[in-house]
């Protein structure tokens, strides 16, 4: 048996011919992307398929997408999935085989199916969600109560992001005295998970030390064009957010599906500006509640005052009537007293007059002049009436009064 020896080129040409003749179709293939880089507009990928345990690769191949195709497929894929092609993604590609004598085997990519990747991402998200629910942490954030006076905000964002500036400016423009502190984190690429967890840990330390006192955490991403957001869909990050003791507001800026982070956070908004708006509205609502209470107090006080005024008015209406009663009574009393006075006075005067008359009569009856007239006389000694002859000594001068005249005599 003769043994033919080929040159490498000849042998490689044989392989190329065989492939070209037997595999001249295009094929759809599902694979995981283990490497992806672009060079001069061409995209170079490495595809793998792992075993069922997901550890050991059981197939591996190079794939290329030439610049003319890639310039169409890249924006198409990004627009549909919200992320760039990167290692770890499951993708579905339309390929044809190419074997080049000098460069070896490669699949040439002519199309890509973003819905497959989306489906795979959704499956992964579902898996994370299932796990979070199983751990009983999925709804923990929803049970936290947002402080009605939420003013001290811990912010996780990239320091240079425009969204962070918008957020801070919007809060500063509000009528409330918000205080924010930035915990810088990388908000894109593979660093997302570790970076945010580390920032959360710093906030937690501050929370434990109670200095400063944060009311809530805001995780915002700086806007911009579509970027790789798959970093927000990891189990470790979701667990950290879900179990965080302070309410977390996410403003990561997804246009399409909710990320797992959004699902487990206390409140999900679309943009950093919306996060600021949410915080302002929270305080607006609180102010509204206070105003309502104030209104109710005022209303109650006004009502109470009106009732009291009415009561007073009713009393006031009764007062004149009551007083006129008093007045009539008092007037009558005074009239009575006044009426009693004059008869009493007259009576007294009359009584006295009568007494005088009696006295007068008696006095008249006793007048000595009457006795003298009848012939009696009276004898006085030193101006006093003499009743006993013994009461004068001989030689004493006595005076005898007669009706007409007076006799002076000496006692013998």
């Amino acid at each position: 048996m003769t043994t033919t020896t080929y040159s490498l080129y000849e042998l490689n040409s044989l392989v190329r011919q065989t492939i070209e003749e037997t595999m001249y179709h295009e094929y759809w293939v599902e694979a995981e992307l283990s490497e992806c880089r672009t060079n001069r507009g061409h995209c170079y990928m490495e595809l793998i398929q792992k075993d069922e345990q997901g550890n050991t690769p059981i197939a591996r191949a190079q794939a290329r997408c030439w610049q003319n195709t890639w310039s169409l497929l890249e924006p198409y894929f990004e627009q549909a999935t919200g992320q760039k092609l990167h290692a770890g993604l499951k993708i579905r590609l339309k390929v044809y085989p190419q074997f080049h004598e000098a460069y070896g085997f490669s699949w040439i990519v002519t199309n890509i199916d973003p819905t497959f990747t989306l489906g795979d991402m959704a499956r992964r998200r579902q898996e994370i969600i299932r796990q979070l629910k199983e751990e009983g942490v999925f709804d923990l954030q929803k049970g936290l109560e947002m402080s009605p006076f939420c003013l001290n905000i811990a912010v996780i964002s990239s320091q240079t992001a425009a969204g962070y500036g918008d957020f801070v400016n919007q809060l500063a423009d509000s009528p409330y005295n918000f205080s924010t502190r930035l915990f810088p984190a990388t908000m894109q690429g593979e660093q997302i998970e570790q970076s945010i967890i580390s920032a959360l840990n710093q906030i937690y330390e501050a929370y434990e030390a109670q200095e400063p006192l944060f009311d809530c955490v805001v995780i915002i991403r700086g806007g911009g064009a579509t970027a790789d957001l798959s970093g927000f869909d990891t189990l470790a990050l979701a667990e950290n957010v879900a179990q965080f003791p302070l309410p977390i507001i996410t403003g990561i800026g997804h246009d399409r599906d909710e990320s797992v982070l959004d699902m487990v956070s206390h409140t999900r908004v679309k943009t950093p500006t919306a996060a600021a708006q949410y915080l302002i509205e929270n305080l607006d609502a609180t102010m509204q509640r206070i105003d309502t209470c104030l209104d109710r107090i005022m209303l109650y006080a006004k009502g109470k005052m009106e009732t009291e005024q009415l009561r007073l008015a009713r009393f006031a209406e009764r007062i004149p009537a009551l007083f006129s009663l008093v007045k009539v009574k008092q007037d009558a009393l005074l009239d009575t007293l006044s009426a009693r006075l004059s008869p009493v006075v007259n009576l007294t005067i009359e009584k006295q007059r009568h007494q005088l008359q009696l006295l007068e009569q008696r006095a008249k009856a006793l007048d000595p002049a009457l006795l003298l007239k009848r012939g009696y006389s009276m004898t006085l000694c030193q101006g006093r009436i003499l009743r006993h002859a013994d009461s004068v000594k001989p030689g004493t001068e006595i005076e005898t009064r007669l009706e007409q005249g007076t006799i002076i005599s000496i006692v013998k």
Binding site: I319, L334, V345, T348
Partner: protein, 59 residues
């Protein structure tokens, strides 16, 4: 002197007068005092009436 005090004094005078407790010398003096008290009490009643009406008109 309050209205009550005036009224009490007036009643006292009338009562004593009716009981004949005053001498003639005191009589005129007490009668004058009684008339003064009556007039004071009437004044006070009328003034209070006017005042009450005024206060109620204001409120």
């Amino acid at each position: 002197m309050t209205y009550e005090e005036s009224l009490k004094q007036l009643e006292d005078i009338v009562r004593k007068m009716e009981a004949g407790e005053y001498s003639i010398d005191e009589l005129a003096e007490k009668l004058t005092l009684a008339q003064q008290l009556i007039s004071q009490c009437r004044d006070k009643l009328n003034r209070t009436d006017t005042e009450i009406k005024k206060i109620l008109e204001k409120s």
